[in-house]
């Protein structure tokens, strides 16, 4: 159900862009209005979501403790899996953001005949996830060549590294291939592992199909159904300089690609893709585990009227001594109490 719905949505988008451009001639809509709408939704939506999260108080430390907590000096402390200081937590976050460390810890759990429990080495999800994210980053940076004039050095540097093998013309980018392989793996994984398929929803399938379609149309645009890049860059530069023009004669495949990318940007803040921002605001990741070193006081505790034992004894010391009850301070030690009954 979720698979068909997501697939239909993505195919619908492709068809809508194709028909909209070729039959209805909506070049301005697909070339200017839709990208502007998408990028506004993206920027506004991400800021809105993050600020919404920022309003949630985190009074107590609830980090996942994935290793030995800092304890006695002779117990080996797992510094980055169970950080106790701000510095260690920063390292944990960097490992999480750049290397997906928690995914690296993934194991596969199985009960075999016996019955015995097996925890198996399972790094494929981590590998595909990491490959996918880094390839996407490289592809995003490579696309800056359409949005900058002059093109900054790092864009050309990355392009060169990516096209290192100089196969064919236009040269094949390594990331294009790895991106498609990784996305394909991530889709197939959802389809064939029963437990993963059981918990998969349309909002899991849709971004994957969308990314697959974006990759496919992008590759088609570069290598197969080619378009006039000078016109594409004119369009892109017009968009970012707020003087949008749509040059005539750009192929429909480009508008399909653009419509899919616009959808991704517009969809981003309202979807699970917001894990990009959420990773930074995860209390289970970004808090040091110092509950046993520092006292964390709930900031919205209302004032409670308390009567401590010391005050109690001050009140009743004479009577307690008279009755022969033990007191912490003897009569002669205790300072005179004002307002004593």
């Amino acid at each position: 159900m979720g698979i068909k719905l997501s697939l239909a949505a993505v195919l619908g988008l492709v068809l809508a862009a194709y028909i909209g451009v070729t039959a209805a001639g909506l070049y301005h809509f697909f070339g200017v209005s839709l990208p502007y709408l998408a990028i506004s939704l993206f920027l506004g939506g991400v800021v809105y979501r993050v600020l919404k999260w920022a309003r949630a108080p985190v009074p107590f430390r609830i980090p996942t403790t994935a290793g030995q907590e800092k304890s006695m000096p002779w117990v080996k402390h797992s510094r980055f899996d169970n950080p106790s200081t701000k510095g260690e937590t920063v390292v944990r976050m960097l490992l999480e953001v750049f290397l997906f460390r928690s995914l690296f810890r993934n194991t596969k759990f199985e009960i075999e005949k016996g019955p015995r429990i097996f925890y198996q080495w399972e790094k494929w999800l981590w590998l595909a996830g990491l490959a996918f994210h880094y390839c996407f980053l490289v592809i995003l940076i490579r696309h800056l060549r359409f949005f900058t004039e002059p093109v900054p050095f790092f864009v050309q540097g990355i392009e060169k590294l990516d096209g290192f093998f100089q196969v064919g013309l236009p040269g094949i980018y390594v990331t294009d291939g790895i991106f498609m392989l990784a996305v394909t793996y991530l889709i197939i994984r959802r389809l064939i592992i029963p437990q993963v398929r059981y918990i998969s929803l349309p909002q899991d399938y849709f971004p994957l199909f969308l990314l697959f379609a974006i990759g496919t149309t992008g590759i088609l645009t570069r290598y197969v159904i080619k378009v006039d890049l000078i016109k594409v860059k004119t369009l892109a530069m017009g968009l970012i300089s707020f003087h949008p023009v749509v040059p005539a004669g750009i192929g429909a495949i480009f508008f399909i690609h653009l419509a899919l990318v616009s959808t991704l940007f517009a969809y981003f803040p309202f979807s699970k893709l917001m894990h990009a921002g959420g990773i930074f605001l995860s209390p289970t990741r970004n808090l040091p585990n110092d509950s046993r070193m520092r006292r964390h006081i709930n900031p919205w505790n209302y004032p409670v009227k308390v009567h401590t034992y010391a005050q109690y004894e001050d009140h009743f010391r004479e009577k307690m001594v008279e009755a022969g009850l033990p007191v912490e301070k003897e009569l002669e030690q205790a300072p005179p109490v004002a307002g004593k009954p």
């Binding site: 920027l43 920022a54 060169k160 000078i230 530069m237």
Partner: protein, 149 residues
């Protein structure tokens, strides 16, 4: 509404917005004129019907593929004559055939390549092996494709 840990979160958001809008402030909103490759060479000026090997639109998008096919045909199969769809025959050579008409690399090839963001020094890498025929001033007869093979 109170924002908790606002210092870190607002800095993070600023970094995000800064990175996401990089092209806008990098180009600071100036409009850029699109590349305008020049066809003003003596040979093209002297043509009765101005045409290239393939139709213009196809040449714009497919020239690199065509050159790649030519490379394969010449280097691997020793075939040197290309028959265009309209029946005309061309020698499969960048230096003698392409540059016979387009003798102005700086105003023709480079303008689009630079605009499309290819590295001026090394991309496309045709010219790391091929000789760039010397460019002539307009009016002089183009002398390209000297014994460079």
């Amino acid at each position: 509404m109170k924002i908790y840990d606002g210092k870190y979160i607002l800095i993070g958001l600023l970094v995000f917005v800064g990175l996401a809008t990089f092209p806008i402030w990098f180009d600071h909103g100036k409009a850029v004129a699109p590349a305008d490759p020049s066809l003003n060479t003596p040979v093209i000026a002297g043509m009765m019907v101005k045409h290239c090997i393939l139709p213009k639109d196809q040449m714009i998008t497919e020239h690199m593929k065509l050159l790649n096919v030519w490379r394969t045909e010449v280097v691997r199969y020793g075939k040197r004559v290309y028959v265009a769809p309209n029946g005309e025959k061309y020698e499969m050579s960048l230096e003698t055939e392409c540059f016979r008409c387009h003798s102005n690399k700086a105003e023709f090839c480079d303008r689009c390549h630079n605009f499309a963001g290819l590295d001026k020094a090394s991309d496309p890498y045709c010219f790391s092996c091929h000789v760039v025929p010397s460019e002539k001033k307009p009016g002089a007869v183009a002398m390209v494709g000297k014994e460079s093979k």
